[in-house]
């Protein structure tokens, strides 16, 4: 028999001003309140860029997020390059793709092992899991080390991709470094296979809700950088028309804007990419998808985490191919872009770990940024997260309140939400 009243209120305080609240209120068996409030996109995005020279934008915006630094930097560079009509070389394109794969693997492995796995192991967080299953956590850290080293090899430093510049790179990896990395990527097959083997045994909650999935798309590759905006409802848009997809609107209960396109909400992220671009996945990644029994269109949001694991497999394989291409071509020093006194407007877009990200800049003829806009993936997912919550709650009302709470947390975690203003602010109690 269903309980008539359920009250879930998860108040997760991030260390600064952010929120992370899940509020569910059921009275007399009816859902009266169901909402989510996480941190909004960086509000001062435009303020921090206005008046700054174009070449600083990627370095500034890469600081927005320590997890998606390359994603922000690459989107920023693509916006600037489009605005200033900068052609990039094939070498730059290949290196950016390789670097991007590093960040995707880096972010996904953390999310899967540090946040999702503890849920399934019944551990409150990764800390008890490190005690009970140290080999699982150490595997995660091995993969993370590999992806971190891959990023560092190309971008020059941990955390922030300082070697990335408008039109190219200020630092290039050597062929020797690339070949050593290729060996390590091949050696990572075992850890990836074990990751898939572990994840496929997990009892993924059975929850289906149809929605629209939005991602970048390219004909000949699984798109992470550039392409067109594609949706599973059959729409495609040029990047410059991104606002026709995002349609940001204010909602009363949240400080963050909500986005919707063809339906009341849409979803971005690994599952959206999987649903739109399954055909372009590497065969090994498709084999991993088969292990989960996943073929498009997958409508279970919890499986976003499985889609992330599938993407990790894809990114490792594609990285190996990219290195082969780079080594075959040979690494060459290339001239960087020189500003020619002509400004413009441009949109840059990447499908970062959490989904499609847009940067839009207007640059004046002095090379200074006149206007800027940024729409982050998590912002686009808010409406869809809430729609999922509203659909899931009535299905699980007969369960104990603690289980309802736990499932709601798992659902939101599956989206891997980005608290983009997170800091490292530490609270200390001296003993």
């Amino acid at each position: 028999m269903s309980k008539v009243d359920v009250n879930v209120n998860v108040h997760h305080l991030t260390r600064v001003e952010g929120h992370g609240n899940i509020v569910v209120d059921v009275k007399n068996g009816e859902l009266v309140k169901c909402q989510l409030d996480i941190v909004e996109a960086p509000r001062f995005f435009e303020a921090m860029l206005r008046g700054r020279p174009y070449y600083e934008a990627s370095h500034i915006t890469s600081r927005i997020c320590g997890i998606c630094a390359t994603g922000h930097a690459t989107s920023s560079l693509r916006a600037t390059e489009t605005a200033l009509d900068v052609e990039i070389s094939e070498q730059t394109e290949l290196l950016r793709k390789l670097l991007f794969h590093g960040e995707i693997i880096d972010s996904h492995v953390l999310h899967i092992y540090m946040l999702v796995a503890p849920d399934f192991f019944g551990a409150g967080s990764v800390l008890p899991l490190a005690g009970s299953h140290p080999e699982v956590v150490k595997r995660a850290l091995r993969i993370k080390k590999l992806s971190g080293d891959l990023c560092e090899m190309i971008s020059g430093r941990h955390t922030h991709p300082i070697a990335m510049a408008v039109g190219g790179f200020t630092h290039l990896p050597s062929v020797k470094e690339l070949l050593a990395m290729k060996e390590r990527l091949i050696a990572a097959h075992e850890d990836l296979d074990e990751t898939i083997a572990l994840l496929k045994t997990l009892p993924w909650p059975d929850f289906q809700r149809e929605t629209e999935y939005v991602s970048l798309q390219k004909e000949d590759e699984y798109a992470f950088i550039d392409g067109v905006i594609a949706t599973t409802d059959g729409f495609t848009y040029d990047l410059s028309d991104y606002r026709q997809v995002t349609n940001e609107t204010l909602v009363p209960h949240s400080t963050a804007k909500h986005c919707k396109h063809n339906r009341d909400s849409y979803m971005v992220g690994a599952l959206a990419r999987f649903n739109n671009n399954y055909d372009q996945l590497h065969p090994r990644a498709k084999a991993a998808a088969a292990e989960f029994g996943m073929t498009p269109i997958v409508t279970n949001s919890f499986l976003n985490s499985a889609a992330q694991a599938i993407e990790m497999v894809h990114c490792v394989e594609d990285s190996i191919q990219l290195i082969d291409q780079l080594v075959d071509r040979g690494i060459k020093e290339e001239p960087l872009f020189e500003f020619n006194g002509k400004g413009g407007e441009g949109v840059g877009s990447c499908d970062v770990p959490r989904g499609i990200l847009f940067h839009n800049y207007i640059i004046d003829d002095d090379g200074k940024i006149e206007g800027a806009n940024c729409i982050i993936p998590t912002g686009q997912n808010y409406a869809n997260m809430e729609a999922d919550m509203r659909a899931l709650v009535p299905q699980i009302l007969d369960r104990p309140e603690a289980e309802v709470t736990h499932l709601m947390e798992m659902l939101i975690r599956a989206y891997d939400p980005c608290i983009s203003c997170s800091t490292h602010f530490l609270k200390v109690d001296f003993v």
Binding site: V16, M48, G66, M114, L127, K138, K144, C418, H424
Partner: protein, 155 residues
Amino acid sequence: MDGSTLIIGLGNPLRGDDGVGVRVVQTLATYDLPPNIRVIDGGTQGLGLVNLMEGQQRVIIVDAADIGTSPGQFVRFTLSDARLLGDEKSLSIHAAGLREALLLAQALDMLPPEVIIYGVQPLTLAWDSTLSSSIEAGLPGLVSAILAEVACEQA
């Protein structure tokens, strides 16, 4: 790796005084440090710190911290001196910070033999790419203290 020291500055320079750790390592990087002392801008990478610290003999971390003093003052402490406060539950890997990284490294027995933290009391963490004047004023003292600690080890 014998005697190696890694000085890690943490924080987000776009969040006001949260950027103090990054500023300190940027300053330290301009000094002619011995080759076994490295400095790194650790940004806000959270659990990635576990990998960063791995294999180091000594790690010195500089980070904004609520240490209950007036803004700009700092406290040097080790893990046995303090309890790092936080929430076990999290909705996002973005919420993971120094505390989580240190606890995870500890759980996996991967902590460097020596971990020293310089916590600096911030005034504001609002979106802003400058440090408060009280933090700026405290910088020379903080940098000297770290240089003295590192030099001491050399002797």
